[in-house]
Protein backbone atom coordinates (compact mmCIF):
# COMPACT_ATOMS: atom_id res chain seq x y z
CA UNK A 1 0.00 0.00 0.00
CA UNK A 2 1.28 3.44 -0.83
CA UNK A 3 1.61 6.30 -3.23
CA UNK A 4 4.49 7.64 -5.31
CA UNK A 5 4.19 11.22 -6.44
CA UNK A 6 5.65 12.50 -9.68
CA UNK A 7 5.62 16.19 -10.59
CA UNK A 8 6.27 17.33 -14.14
CA UNK A 9 5.42 20.61 -15.89
CA UNK A 10 2.60 21.50 -13.48
CA UNK A 11 1.11 18.02 -13.69
CA UNK A 12 1.09 15.87 -10.60
CA UNK A 13 0.73 12.11 -10.90
CA UNK A 14 -0.12 9.95 -7.89
CA UNK A 15 0.88 6.34 -8.54
CA UNK A 16 -1.31 4.41 -6.13
CA UNK A 17 -0.64 0.83 -5.14
CA UNK A 18 -2.05 -1.94 -2.95
CA UNK A 19 -5.48 -1.95 -1.34
CA UNK A 20 -7.46 1.26 -0.87
CA UNK A 21 -9.94 1.13 2.01
CA UNK A 22 -10.95 3.41 4.87
CA UNK A 23 -7.84 2.36 6.82
CA UNK A 24 -5.31 3.08 4.08
CA UNK A 25 -7.08 6.11 2.55
CA UNK A 26 -6.10 8.43 5.39
CA UNK A 27 -2.38 8.07 4.79
CA UNK A 28 -2.79 8.32 1.01
CA UNK A 29 -4.84 11.49 1.42
CA UNK A 30 -2.22 13.11 3.66
CA UNK A 31 0.64 12.29 1.31
CA UNK A 32 -1.14 13.49 -1.84
CA UNK A 33 -2.45 16.67 -0.19
CA UNK A 34 0.91 17.66 1.22
CA UNK A 35 2.45 17.76 -2.26
CA UNK A 36 -0.67 19.01 -4.05
CA UNK A 37 -1.11 22.01 -1.75
CA UNK A 38 2.54 22.94 -2.16
CA UNK A 39 2.65 22.57 -5.95
CA UNK A 40 -0.97 23.45 -6.92
CA UNK A 41 -1.02 21.32 -10.08
CA UNK A 42 -3.33 22.10 -13.01
CA UNK A 43 -3.92 18.40 -13.34
CA UNK A 44 -3.78 15.73 -10.68
CA UNK A 45 -3.67 12.28 -12.26
CA UNK A 46 -4.50 9.39 -9.97
CA UNK A 47 -3.04 6.23 -11.47
CA UNK A 48 -4.70 2.96 -10.37
CA UNK A 49 -2.63 0.48 -12.40
CA UNK A 50 -1.18 -1.13 -9.26
CA UNK A 51 -4.31 -1.04 -7.10
CA UNK A 52 -5.50 -4.55 -6.22
CA UNK A 53 -8.59 -3.60 -4.24
CA UNK A 54 -10.71 -0.53 -3.66
CA UNK A 55 -14.02 0.10 -1.90
CA UNK A 56 -16.07 3.31 -1.64
CA UNK A 57 -13.37 4.84 0.58
CA UNK A 58 -11.38 5.15 -2.64
CA UNK A 59 -14.29 7.03 -4.19
CA UNK A 60 -14.19 9.38 -1.19
CA UNK A 61 -10.45 9.78 -1.73
CA UNK A 62 -10.93 10.81 -5.37
CA UNK A 63 -13.86 13.15 -4.57
CA UNK A 64 -11.86 14.81 -1.81
CA UNK A 65 -8.87 15.45 -4.11
CA UNK A 66 -11.27 16.78 -6.77
CA UNK A 67 -12.58 19.33 -4.25
CA UNK A 68 -9.04 20.25 -3.22
CA UNK A 69 -7.61 20.97 -6.70
CA UNK A 70 -10.80 22.86 -7.58
CA UNK A 71 -9.64 25.47 -5.07
CA UNK A 72 -7.02 26.64 -7.58
CA UNK A 73 -8.94 25.68 -10.71
CA UNK A 74 -7.23 22.33 -11.27
CA UNK A 75 -8.74 19.07 -12.46
CA UNK A 76 -8.47 15.38 -11.60
CA UNK A 77 -8.06 12.52 -14.02
CA UNK A 78 -8.32 8.82 -13.26
CA UNK A 79 -5.76 6.73 -15.13
CA UNK A 80 -5.30 3.03 -15.85
CA UNK A 81 -8.33 1.79 -13.98
CA UNK A 82 -8.20 -2.02 -13.62
CA UNK A 83 -11.35 -3.71 -15.02
CA UNK A 84 -12.50 -4.87 -11.60
CA UNK A 85 -12.70 -1.27 -10.33
CA UNK A 86 -14.82 -0.08 -13.24
CA UNK A 87 -18.10 -1.21 -11.70
CA UNK A 88 -17.45 0.85 -8.57
CA UNK A 89 -16.39 3.94 -10.52
CA UNK A 90 -19.53 3.69 -12.69
CA UNK A 91 -21.73 3.45 -9.61
CA UNK A 92 -20.01 6.43 -7.99
CA UNK A 93 -20.85 8.99 -10.67
CA UNK A 94 -17.19 10.07 -10.73
CA UNK A 95 -17.27 10.00 -14.52
CA UNK A 96 -19.17 13.27 -14.30
CA UNK A 97 -16.36 14.95 -12.36
CA UNK A 98 -13.16 13.44 -13.67
CA UNK A 99 -11.74 12.39 -16.99
CA UNK A 100 -10.92 8.70 -17.28
CA UNK A 101 -7.79 7.93 -19.26
CA UNK A 102 -6.22 4.66 -20.32
CA UNK A 103 -2.70 3.52 -21.12
CA UNK A 104 -0.94 6.45 -19.56
CA UNK A 105 2.78 5.94 -19.17
CA UNK A 106 4.26 7.85 -16.30
CA UNK A 107 7.65 9.48 -16.19
CA UNK A 108 10.05 8.18 -13.62
CA UNK A 109 11.27 11.62 -12.52
CA UNK A 110 10.09 11.62 -8.96
CA UNK A 111 8.92 14.65 -7.03
Amino acid sequence: MGVRLILKDGFLTAMLSGEIDHHSARELREEIDETAMRTKPQMLTMDFSNVQFMDSSGVGLIMGRYKLVQLWGGAVSIANLPPKLEKLISLSGLRELCTIVKDVKSDESEE
Binding site: G60, M63, G64
Partner: protein, 148 residues
Protein backbone atom coordinates in the same frame (compact mmCIF):
# COMPACT_ATOMS: atom_id res chain seq x y z
CA UNK B 1 -31.31 -22.52 3.80
CA UNK B 2 -29.87 -26.02 4.23
CA UNK B 3 -26.38 -25.19 5.42
CA UNK B 4 -23.51 -27.08 3.85
CA UNK B 5 -20.69 -25.18 5.49
CA UNK B 6 -20.47 -22.26 7.89
CA UNK B 7 -17.93 -20.03 9.66
CA UNK B 8 -17.97 -17.29 12.25
CA UNK B 9 -15.35 -14.77 13.18
CA UNK B 10 -15.31 -11.73 15.44
CA UNK B 11 -12.79 -8.96 15.92
CA UNK B 12 -12.58 -5.47 17.43
CA UNK B 13 -13.44 -2.47 15.26
CA UNK B 14 -9.86 -1.35 14.56
CA UNK B 15 -9.61 -0.04 11.01
CA UNK B 16 -6.64 -2.36 10.40
CA UNK B 17 -9.19 -5.20 10.57
CA UNK B 18 -11.07 -4.01 7.46
CA UNK B 19 -8.68 -5.96 5.23
CA UNK B 20 -8.77 -8.94 7.60
CA UNK B 21 -12.58 -9.06 7.53
CA UNK B 22 -12.88 -9.11 3.74
CA UNK B 23 -9.94 -11.52 3.36
CA UNK B 24 -11.45 -14.09 5.73
CA UNK B 25 -14.86 -14.03 3.99
CA UNK B 26 -13.15 -14.21 0.62
CA UNK B 27 -11.15 -17.27 1.72
CA UNK B 28 -14.38 -18.96 2.85
CA UNK B 29 -16.26 -18.03 -0.34
CA UNK B 30 -13.42 -19.50 -2.41
CA UNK B 31 -14.81 -22.95 -1.52
CA UNK B 32 -17.65 -22.22 -3.97
CA UNK B 33 -15.15 -21.62 -6.76
CA UNK B 34 -16.39 -18.12 -7.61
CA UNK B 35 -15.08 -16.12 -10.57
CA UNK B 36 -12.56 -13.36 -9.90
CA UNK B 37 -15.33 -10.81 -10.49
CA UNK B 38 -17.67 -12.50 -8.02
CA UNK B 39 -14.94 -12.68 -5.40
CA UNK B 40 -14.12 -9.03 -5.95
CA UNK B 41 -17.84 -8.14 -5.51
CA UNK B 42 -17.98 -10.09 -2.23
CA UNK B 43 -14.78 -8.52 -0.88
CA UNK B 44 -15.98 -5.03 -1.74
CA UNK B 45 -19.43 -5.54 -0.15
CA UNK B 46 -17.90 -6.99 3.04
CA UNK B 47 -15.42 -4.14 3.20
CA UNK B 48 -18.29 -1.63 3.03
CA UNK B 49 -20.23 -3.36 5.80
CA UNK B 50 -17.22 -3.70 8.10
CA UNK B 51 -16.23 -0.08 7.46
CA UNK B 52 -19.75 1.03 8.42
CA UNK B 53 -19.33 -0.73 11.78
CA UNK B 54 -16.02 1.06 12.36
CA UNK B 55 -16.98 4.51 11.09
CA UNK B 56 -20.61 4.68 12.25
CA UNK B 57 -21.65 1.96 14.70
CA UNK B 58 -18.63 2.37 16.99
CA UNK B 59 -17.92 5.96 16.11
CA UNK B 60 -15.88 7.04 19.12
CA UNK B 61 -15.19 3.66 20.61
CA UNK B 62 -13.95 0.19 19.85
CA UNK B 63 -16.51 -2.61 19.83
CA UNK B 64 -16.80 -6.10 18.44
CA UNK B 65 -17.80 -6.89 14.86
CA UNK B 66 -19.34 -10.33 14.27
CA UNK B 67 -19.25 -12.01 10.87
CA UNK B 68 -21.06 -15.22 10.03
CA UNK B 69 -20.96 -16.77 6.57
CA UNK B 70 -22.61 -19.91 5.28
CA UNK B 71 -23.61 -21.55 2.04
CA UNK B 72 -26.06 -24.20 0.98
CA UNK B 73 -26.09 -27.02 -1.55
CA UNK B 74 -27.41 -24.69 -4.24
CA UNK B 75 -24.37 -22.42 -3.98
CA UNK B 76 -26.10 -19.55 -2.22
CA UNK B 77 -23.65 -17.70 0.00
CA UNK B 78 -25.07 -15.75 2.91
CA UNK B 79 -22.96 -13.29 4.88
CA UNK B 80 -24.17 -11.64 8.08
CA UNK B 81 -22.23 -8.74 9.59
CA UNK B 82 -23.40 -7.57 13.00
CA UNK B 83 -22.39 -4.92 15.51
CA UNK B 84 -23.63 -3.83 18.91
CA UNK B 85 -23.06 -0.16 18.19
CA UNK B 86 -25.25 2.95 18.01
CA UNK B 87 -27.77 1.59 15.50
CA UNK B 88 -29.52 3.48 12.70
CA UNK B 89 -32.62 5.62 13.35
CA UNK B 90 -33.86 5.58 9.78
CA UNK B 91 -32.54 2.63 7.78
CA UNK B 92 -34.29 3.69 4.57
CA UNK B 93 -32.63 7.10 4.66
CA UNK B 94 -29.22 5.60 5.50
CA UNK B 95 -29.50 3.38 2.44
CA UNK B 96 -30.00 6.29 0.04
CA UNK B 97 -26.98 6.68 -2.25
CA UNK B 98 -24.78 9.65 -1.30
CA UNK B 99 -26.39 9.97 2.14
CA UNK B 100 -23.72 10.13 4.82
CA UNK B 101 -23.51 11.30 8.42
CA UNK B 102 -19.72 11.48 8.25
CA UNK B 103 -19.31 14.47 5.92
CA UNK B 104 -15.99 15.68 7.29
CA UNK B 105 -14.32 12.33 6.78
CA UNK B 106 -14.63 12.07 3.00
CA UNK B 107 -17.17 9.27 3.12
CA UNK B 108 -18.80 8.98 -0.29
CA UNK B 109 -22.11 7.77 1.14
CA UNK B 110 -22.05 4.76 -1.16
CA UNK B 111 -21.65 1.88 1.30
CA UNK B 112 -25.17 0.43 1.09
CA UNK B 113 -25.43 1.22 -2.65
CA UNK B 114 -22.30 -0.85 -3.25
CA UNK B 115 -23.59 -3.73 -1.10
CA UNK B 116 -26.91 -3.64 -2.92
CA UNK B 117 -25.50 -3.64 -6.44
CA UNK B 118 -22.57 -6.00 -5.84
CA UNK B 119 -24.64 -8.66 -4.04
CA UNK B 120 -27.89 -10.36 -5.04
CA UNK B 121 -29.77 -9.65 -1.81
CA UNK B 122 -29.33 -7.16 1.02
CA UNK B 123 -31.28 -6.81 4.24
CA UNK B 124 -30.51 -4.30 6.97
CA UNK B 125 -32.08 -4.42 10.41
CA UNK B 126 -31.20 -1.98 13.15
CA UNK B 127 -32.24 -0.86 16.60
CA UNK B 128 -30.99 2.50 17.85
CA UNK B 129 -28.71 1.93 20.82
CA UNK B 130 -28.60 -1.83 20.21
CA UNK B 131 -26.83 -2.34 16.92
CA UNK B 132 -27.17 -3.19 13.26
CA UNK B 133 -27.23 -6.43 11.29
CA UNK B 134 -26.49 -6.53 7.57
CA UNK B 135 -27.38 -9.75 5.75
CA UNK B 136 -26.23 -10.21 2.18
CA UNK B 137 -26.58 -13.04 -0.31
CA UNK B 138 -24.70 -13.95 -3.45
CA UNK B 139 -25.78 -16.78 -5.71
CA UNK B 140 -22.81 -18.76 -6.97
CA UNK B 141 -25.08 -21.57 -8.06
CA UNK B 142 -23.76 -22.85 -11.37
CA UNK B 143 -20.40 -23.79 -9.88
CA UNK B 144 -21.43 -25.87 -6.95
CA UNK B 145 -21.67 -29.16 -8.83
CA UNK B 146 -18.00 -29.74 -9.38
CA UNK B 147 -17.22 -29.19 -5.73
CA UNK B 148 -19.49 -32.06 -4.85
Amino acid sequence: MKVKNEMSVSFPSNSANESFGRAVVSAFAAQLDPTIDELSDIKTAVSEAVTNCIVHAYRNAIGMIYINAKYDEKGTLQIRIRDKGCGIEDVEQAMQPLYTTAEGEERAGLGFAVMESFMDKLRVTSKPGKGTTVTMQKNLARRVMKNG
